[in-house]
Symmetry: C3
């Protein structure tokens, strides 16, 4: 038993198998095949390793964004002076990554719960049929069923009265001075797989720099303070248009970092995209224009609950963080090498095809390459005999003696 | 030197190595091994390339979602008529991808800061011990330490008084008409790697269509207007139940696009999932039921700050965008080919095993396959001599002459 | 034609090609190469399959988070008792995954629209030049151009008056009792590729457990109730510091699940990270300290719109869900095997190099390994003749007879 195991181990460890190769000394074949092999090698090293960085593993970041608007807008509507500061025009107020900056509005002051006619003339029912049908879009309030009005009859509703009249949108937008607002973005990213933590306030950005810088794609691409007018322009919009009806802009903070270099080279790149209110008016604008929502400020007056309703048109900002970090890792490297060796095998197959099927001396090479074994029985067709004789004529071993 | 380099280059470029193969002419082995090879090839082409699309690279989208609710609810509580419109029942109001629609509430009007007893009888301390223990859940206000009340003593707190009594939740839900609200979703996705931009308002959806369509999974699967009752039903919930205690529903917008085809075939698929308030009442409901939060409207009355507190029960909607786009790319294609060649090698190993260890003539094939070299010294064991004699008997070369 | 196809099929199916191998019986080479091959095998099985789980495919989750704060804070400022409950200190109120807990504030009561001087002395223009320059950060209101004040002149603005004086931040923070607030997190994850749905209220967590448990990393790591003071401490912050100026904390819920095991072993791990207000004061703190935003409560007094402005300092919580689920899949398994076979090929190449270039008998092995074919013409250089004679001397076939 022991000697059996010993022999098995010795057989295993003291032998080495290497594929036997045929060395073809043919200039044309040699050059062509070497060029194919060099091409494959160049592809593997050049494209897979260097360009596509196949030797690195990737990771995406855990990210957090905080925003802060600054700026004041001044309106004089019907002789009434009003100033709108951050508290009044940013929704929501706590500095999320997604927020709206009000640029235009329709205000309905002092609404209180009661009965009043719906908006004329957008919903006039013939024969004053004022019953709410469940499939229709709901009306502005709860239909009482009554029909009111002198000249044109409209349905009466229980609602916050008087109902809002949003047919005429102020043009130009009331808060055009929103162009000069500034947006400050603080963004922190962490790549957990590599334990790397970065912030968009990169090295070199301190309190002094922040106090005076404004983002510019060429001169100050790392300044985290953005002027709203610039943001709108960089997204491809026209400020007057987007301010009147509202729109949406995506600010993409792109972190593409090669962590084989120093961490300080991991810096964000800001890009700006118009999201819905497309300058290309063909598909999007037909379906849904602008960006708006309603908002109310409640208060008590004479022991009655009242509210001031605002239909807010504004620019919606979505700050989206895209991140990919790469770092050298042994597994993708060896996987790429492994696949590369496989593709090298394809190069060998291609050259073999040329050698065995295309060259003038292909029969010769066939016999060089293949060592043919005999068939199962002796009484085979003459074809098999020829398979025996041919290599014999060329000079192969005496396979005939091999037949047991 | 030149001739040395010339010879080296000529040696490199003018030679070509190809593995020498043994051609086994055995019907059984041939058929079996060819079938194995065809099977591997079918797997590589059929599964890896066609089914799993191994020839394509993938990318996920940068996405932005905007929502808008429409609808009005009417309540008549204690003879008081009230109408709740979008401004009153959607939190937050600016159209985020995550929002709550109020379906039920407990209202406590006219709270003002002062001292009053806590809620009876949920926290009655024996011997009227009213000291706030740091490990207990905080009380409804700041404990004064006093013990108040006539029949049953309760602790006194500094709080917004009177404290809220939330023991009895209105059943049925007060805003059951929320079933008829409609939700409009605008979703824009961009696949940066391929420069493709899509919106859920696909080709064919224009203003007219939007004015009248309602989402239906079979008849109008691309309509971006959803009726709330339908959403609840498609998530597997019962509206009356979820309206009373609240719940959460996830709307998943799935973009799975093959960008080798025309872009217009890249369309979203909507699915609806109940998130927490599981119809399966076993695990989830025991721990935490429904969805609620508190919200206050502040106002001044008689120069005193007051507030109306609402405990809001509602349906939380989370709109989640899942996206994967695929497009033909040379790298994954060649990687799949490379790995495929490697797996082909495994097929060869399996067949070799059959050939060398299972067939009756395996010794013969062993000798056909392996060309044995001699050992290190002449004085080897008799076993090594047999290794020499055997191939000689079969007809191999005269390795004996090879010994130097 | 038929016989041609029959012969082609028979040629294809009844033959099997296997590479001819040279069996080297050399102890040193054998041991070294076997060790290299065993090493590669150990790497493939140990690292790629077992450690990196190369036999599994991965999927990320669709996730939804709901939060709820509990707790009350008591302040006594200028003799005025006040209690702050959840409604007052959480922004926003509806339980999002991202929210702010107020820990400190500067309050400006009863602001009304009018004209008043800007804040003294932060913006004093020499020669009372009060024109708003478009490149400067906007002022606190709309500049009238007038210069007001007795001792020191300041610019007059149209604004909510009196303007906010935020120069002195309350120290210690006014709502230090926020330390005892508790945060309840409900998180639902779904892995769509595997159809698995999980919640952080895992098996074993029921209503009773939730009523009394508090999260602790070692004793109760699955309790979804977190005490705010603990959260701050686990993030590496000091509560007093972060409460005064505000800060941001990321709560990462990590789902790393091996779905080859039972689903109940798929449990979340909570980690806590300070996001911006870094304890390391060097880079971050210089640029931007703390976390704050402004918020207003509007009301009507004497038919005039007024507001109470709060500059809120607080802790921003971002709950981030990271998820990766793995499950056995045939494709990555076979891809790993395929690449592994390729890498095995590299091991063979390395051993061949040793065999052909480093060993003393390398010329012998060269001739064992390579079967050389003749050159294109007979009149070759003497070198080619030597290529012919050498194998002949060693004992190779009579290639000379092969020349046609």
């Amino acid at each position: 038993m022991n000697s059996y195991i010993a022999n098995a181990l010795s057989d295993f460890f003291f032998k080495y198998e290497t594929p036997r190769q045929v060395l073809v000394r043919n200039r044309r074949v040699g050059v062509v095949c070497r060029l194919i092999q060099l091409g494959v090698l160049a592809y593997i090293i050049g494209w897979v390793f260097i360009y596509e960085k196949g030797y690195q593993s990737t990771d995406t970041a855990v990210s957090s964004v905080f925003t802060k608007m600054k700026g004041v807008a001044y309106t004089k509507v019907d002789g009434e002076e009003w100033v709108w500061d951050t508290v009044d025009y940013v929704f929501p107020e706590q500095g999320d990554s997604s927020f709206v900056v009000m640029t235009n509005y329709i205000i309905t002051k002092g609404q209180k719960m009661g009965k009043c006619p719906e908006l004329y003339p957008s919903r006039v029912f013939s024969s004053c049929l004022c019953l709410a049908a469940p499939l229709l879009r709901p009306p502005q309030g709860h239909m009482t069923g009554k029909c009111v009005g002198n000249t044109t009859k409209t349905c009466e509703v229980v609602a916050w009265c008087p109902v809002e009249d949003d047919r005429k949108i102020p043009d130009p937008a009331l808060l055009m001075s929103a162009e000069n607002y500034t947006l400050f973005i603080k963004n922190s990213v962490t790549f957990p797989a590599y334990g790397v933590k970065r912030s968009n306030l990169v090295e070199g950005i301190d309190n002094q720099y922040i106090k005076s810088c404004v983002y510019d794609p060429t001169t100050s691409p790392l300044c985290p303070i953005f002027r709203l007018g610039d943001l709108v322009q960089l997204s491809g919009f026209n400020f007057a248009t987007i301010a009147k009806m509202g729109g949406a802009i995506g600010i993409v903070i792109d972190w593409t970092c090669n962590l084989d270099y120093d961490q300080s080279e991991c810096k964000p790149i800001y890009t700006f995209h118009g999201l819905y209110g497309n300058p290309n008016e063909t598909d999007m604008a037909r379906a849904s224009v602008g960006y708006n929502f309603r908002y109310a400020k409640h208060y008590m007056e004479d022991k009655q609950e009242k509210r001031t309703l605002l239909k807010v048109f504004g620019i919606r900002f979505d700050i989206i963080v895209r991140s990919v970090a790469r770092k050298f890792d042994i597994i993708p490297t060896l996987t790429a090498i492994g696949s590369g060796v496989g593709i090298f095998g394809v190069a060998t197959v291609v050259c073999d095809l040329i050698l065995l099927y295309l060259l003038p001396k292909r029969e010769f090479y066939n016999n060089m390459k293949f060592k043919v074994t005999e068939t199962q029985t002796m009484g085979e067709s003459q074809l098999d005999w020829l398979d025996y004789l041919y290599p014999l004529l060329i000079g192969e071993n005496m396979e005939t003696n091999a037949r047991v």
